[in-house]
């Protein structure tokens, strides 16, 4: 499936460098007051780090469509769990059965 793709070590070192950089950035960003954006930035950096680990360290960029489907499917299902559950909590105060 991907033994044909032996990635050059240089690529791994580059990804490693990016991951280190992002770690530095995320720590620094925590000390700056960005209000609600702090969470957004932290999550965005984490998602980016996770993405390059998945694509390159885990070879998904060079994997079959089935592997892509599995990876994306798991993220989508996690999304269902979180979004559909939190949508209950977020809409609790919108309307109550008593009408108030």
């Amino acid at each position: 499936m991907m033994s044909e793709h032996i990635l050059p070590k240089r690529l791994y070192y580059t990804v490693f460098g990016l991951l280190m950089l992002c770690t530095y950035l995320t720590v620094q960003a925590a000390f700056i007051d960005l209000g609600v954006l702090n969470t957004v930035v932290a999550l965005a950096i984490a998602v980016f780090k996770a993405t390059i680990v998945v694509l390159f360290f885990m070879h998904v960029k060079y994997s079959t469509r089935l592997t892509w489907a599995v990876v994306l499917g798991s993220i989508f299902w996690l999304g269902i769990l979180i979004v559909l559950t939190l949508s209950d909590y977020l809409t609790r105060r919108w309307l109550t059965y008593g009408g108030a």
Binding site: L66, I80, L81, L84, T85, D88, W94, T96
Partner: protein, 537 residues
Amino acid sequence: MPTVLLPPRHYLNNGYGIRSWLLTRDHKRIALLYLAAVTFFFFVGGAFAVWIRLDLATPAGDLVSDETYNKLFTMHGVMMVFFFLIPAIPSVLGNFLVPIMIGAKDLAFPKLNLASWYIYMLGGAFTLYALVSGGVDTGWTFYTPFSTASSTTNVIPTALGIFITGFSSILTGLNFIVTIHRMRAPGMTWFRLPLFIWSTYATSLINVLGTPVIAITILLVAAERLFQFGFFNPALGGDPVLFQHLFWFYSHPAVYIMVLPAMGVVSELVAAGCRKPVFGYSFVAFASLAIAVLGFLVWGHHMFVAGESVYSALIFSILSFMVAIPSAVKVFNWTATMYRGAVSWETPMLYAYGFIGLFTIGGLTGLFLAAIAVDVHVTDTYFIVAHFHYIMVGGTIMAYLGGVHYWWPKISGRLYNEGLAKLSAGIIFIGFNLTFFPQFVLGYLGMPRRYHAYPEEFQVLNVLSSAGASILGVGYLIPMVYLMWSLRYGRAAGSNPWGAVGLEWTTTSPPPTENFSQTPVVTWNAYEYSPKVDHVA
């Protein structure tokens, strides 16, 4: 006419002794290990049901105390849901049939398959230990904060038992997914697969995606009990409804784990019993996937009265109506298959027809419950109990028995006594309806569930239900007798006693350990009941 003989070498006589069974990697032997185990747990769960129905024969709670009654229905639920309904068809029939139906020699990971069985047994042992050392009284649903902060019974061992068994489901599902993707025989394209494989595949998706969530939920409950963490305890800042979200995220799809394989069996039985391809094959195949996917989007319908938001309830209600559609598609297609088919009345087909009727009733009542306005009145009443028993017992268990009977000749190489089998099917059908139809009425009249005593005016219906339960019990015991008897004294079945189409019927009964003498090359569609197709008899 030549006498049919058993083949000289097959998987049952390929090695004798307990080690050859407990250390087997043969998916067929593992299926039989599961068969013994799930049958045991079924009767344990059934014993609790007997006690429950005995207590409910009289309005006063005089057979057992209220606390004991709580333990009875909890254990009945836990045993039946986690140790019978969820594993039975996939781990018994699925394990036996998946490799054969796709033309493979075994599953992708045979050792993992054996490990799954041991894990299942370990989980069962934990739960049985919890049972004998005092039981659990939280209901199989473990609602918090009662289960985490108040109950003084063996919550953690039971929860651990379920946690461990969950891994068995996950690993079996994983094994099936990889096997079906990667090990189909040459020519066995996706749309030539038997519908049982499509259903098993869809079930395995649910197993892999859903079971981990109940696993973490159980861990959270255990951690809360042990360390007084406050996730689900309002006194500590937690929310009990969060538990319900996490619990039902799995437990609703779990009911599709229970019913999808049953539907797969019914597709096989209807095709064979009517000697016709299933009507609308691709619709049925896609309906299996649709049920698996949509089944993950409806869990909030268990929480209409739990305090979830109105808008959330609306969304879950609409989605719950939608999930009925693919199920209905299947029922229509089975019915259309029967139309102008050579309808047979042999035992497996009796169970299939029973499934179609009873599942339809159960499914329709599910639509009533999807309507919030109805649900708020009948939730936590016997209406719900009747609804899910129509599907799980009238549906799943009937399909399971139908499948066991249909493939029994393949599994054992022997034929069972058809007369006794038909009799049992009839007793089960009558006993089932007598047990559970009155419960629809009881629930609608307002009798709450999980109560050990009830008002006098409900007694007649309860007595009918209890009488039905005893008939049902007898119905379940008779197959044990004639199936065991057939193992020794039954006539040899031959490769294809039903004259059915499918790779499993092209190999011997019982099959050799490696399933086929040569890897089959498939050039025909599933259910090609045509004289032109040349099958190895």
